[in-house]
């Protein structure tokens, strides 16, 4: 039922190596994350600084890594974010969570704690009400595997 890294690798007929070789360089990370989002959703995302994924750069345990996610949005009926999804591409199962917001009723921000199996760029994708996808990534280095 869940997407595994293997599914994604098989799904990607182009650039097989690209997904597997995540590097800490953020420009390249963005390209790889954009490919990943394309494979998962069939749609093209845009890197955006409206979206903020805040996590520690270094964390001792992969079991409970703090994560805060928000987006600059007026949350009106005409202009709001429908959902924000988080992916951990180097976890055995890459989907982390989807957060759903409601215009006028909830602010587009959330904090939680997630598991990371290894150091990686965590990816956040926001789906806006007009269907546009915005994306950002953040590098997190964990010292222990939180998925074992």
């Amino acid at each position: 039922m869940s997407l595994t890294r293997r599914d994604v690798l098989i799904a990607g007929s182009v650039g097989l190596a690209g997904v597997a070789l995540f590097s800490p360089r953020s420009a390249r990370a963005n390209d790889e994350a954009l490919d990943l989002v394309q494979q998962l959703t069939g749609r093209t995302a845009t890197v955006s600084d409206r979206l903020h994924l805040i996590m520690p750069t270094d964390f001792p345990t992969g079991y409970t890594v703090p994560m805060s996610l928000d987006i600059d949005s007026p949350m009106t009926e005409a202009d709001h974010v429908r959902q924000m999804r988080v992916f951990a591409p180097r976890n055995p199962l890459i989907e982390v969570a989807s957060f759903h917001f409601v215009p006028q009723r909830s602010l587009p921000r959330v904090s939680t704690r997630i598991r990371l199996a290894k150091p990686q760029h965590v990816v956040a994708v926001a789906e806006m009400n007009d269907g546009i996808l915005l994306m950002t990534t953040t590098w997190v280095r964990v010292a222990t595997d939180g998925c074992a």
């Binding site: 890459i94 969570a97 989807s98 006028q104 909830s106 904090s111 939680t112």
Partner: protein
């Protein structure tokens, strides 16, 4: 496994239109289905897979959880105070079990 126990921290009152913060947590192992027991058998997946917050029966915030949400899932989020009434919090577990909490809320 202990019985999952949900807790929320929410103010009791707010001014109309005010943004207020909600903190929720449920004690839960969030067994990922990736681990093995001493005999080498896979320990089946058992996670909280959905969290829904409703405000007078309108869903105002929800989460689809996957295996990478940590044990004892915690969420902090922000809602707008629109009218007095009830906030309902529902956690759904693999296998169909549901855990719930309600909170009365006054908008002055």
């Amino acid at each position: 496994m202990t019985t999952p126990t949900p807790r929320v921290i929410v103010p009791n009152t707010a001014a109309k239109g005010e943004i207020f913060q909600v903190k929720t947590i449920i004690s839960h192992e969030m067994e990922t289905g990736l681990r093995h027991d001493d005999q080498g058998n896979v320990i089946p997946r058992k996670i909280i897979n959905k969290f829904v917050c409703s405000y007078n029966e309108t869903v105002v915030f929800s989460v689809d959880l996957h295996e990478a949400i940590s044990a004892n899932p915690f969420f902090e989020f922000s809602l707008r105070a629109t009218e007095s009434g009830r906030l309902d919090f529902v956690w759904e577990e693999d296998g169909g079990a549901v855990y719930m909490l309600s909170h009365q809320f006054t908008v002055g």
